[in-house]
Symmetry: C2
Subunit: 114 residues, 2 copies
DNA sequence: TTTATTGATTACCTTTTGGTAACTGATTAC
DNA sequence: GTAATCAGTTACCAAAAGGTAATCAATAAA
């Protein structure tokens, strides 16, 4: 009976993975924060983030919208405009971002001098 | 003078990115938690995580060790054994993991029924 | 009328990440 | 002697992520 008991780490890791999938990747948080800061239009967001291409931006905006972190609104004016804004759900990421930043700073101290 | 002022989001995002680089990827957290739970030996860790290959495990263990989240100890016995253990620094990830889990659960409620 | 801007899409290519399977040398069990 | 276990390494592939450049229709400005 040398069977190793190990805790149910899946009920922990599945939601962790969900979060990482939503905010992971090279651009997602940059784009989210750009919108959060008030950049509303596609080109405006694009210009606010150096090196970001239209293709990647279009794809990432779709992902962020699908996850309800940002809202895509069609303003039926002449000409039609499309506005991106942060949602209340998007704003709940604040704690997460702060936690990641705090640990990142701790980690730097641990890895480089302290 | 229509220059857009935007906050210094880099001092926020650089440490955030550091954290995501350290714990991101498909296997890092699974391996970390396996070691955390007490799996000490290479094959033991490998067997504790289904579908994980030796190549990926070897690479991820190196990364985790380089980031001082786990410790690789050579036990100079006959035969030599190699033990992986979690470090104190590794344990500081607990808050981060819990925050990610909590937001992941909130997010699921937001996306699917609530 | 030509040019520029809007919010994208498409085809193509490169880089990164992850996966498969064979193999290593050292040791131990049968 | 043969087979298995230890901690990995190596070569080769496949998939995913990301990047480049051209193009689109609609509208507006020169």
């Amino acid at each position: 009976m040398e069977k190793k008991e190990h805790k149910d780490c899946m009920s922990l890791l599945v939601p962790v993975r969900d979060t990482l999938d939503v905010i992971g990747g090279k651009w997602k948080l940059l784009i989210l924060i750009s919108v959060w800061e008030g950049n509303k239009y596609f080109r405006e967001i694009e210009r606010s983030i150096p090196k970001l291409s239209t293709k990647v931006l279009a794809k990432e905006l779709k992902d962020l919208e699908a996850n309800k972190l940002i809202r895509r609104t069609i303003i039926d004016d002449y000409p039609v405009r499309i506005e991106y804004t942060i949602t209340e759900h998007g704003k709940t990421l604040q704690t997460v971002i702060e936690t990641l930043r705090d640990w990142g700073l701790t980690h730097r101290k641990e890895i480089f001098g302290k």
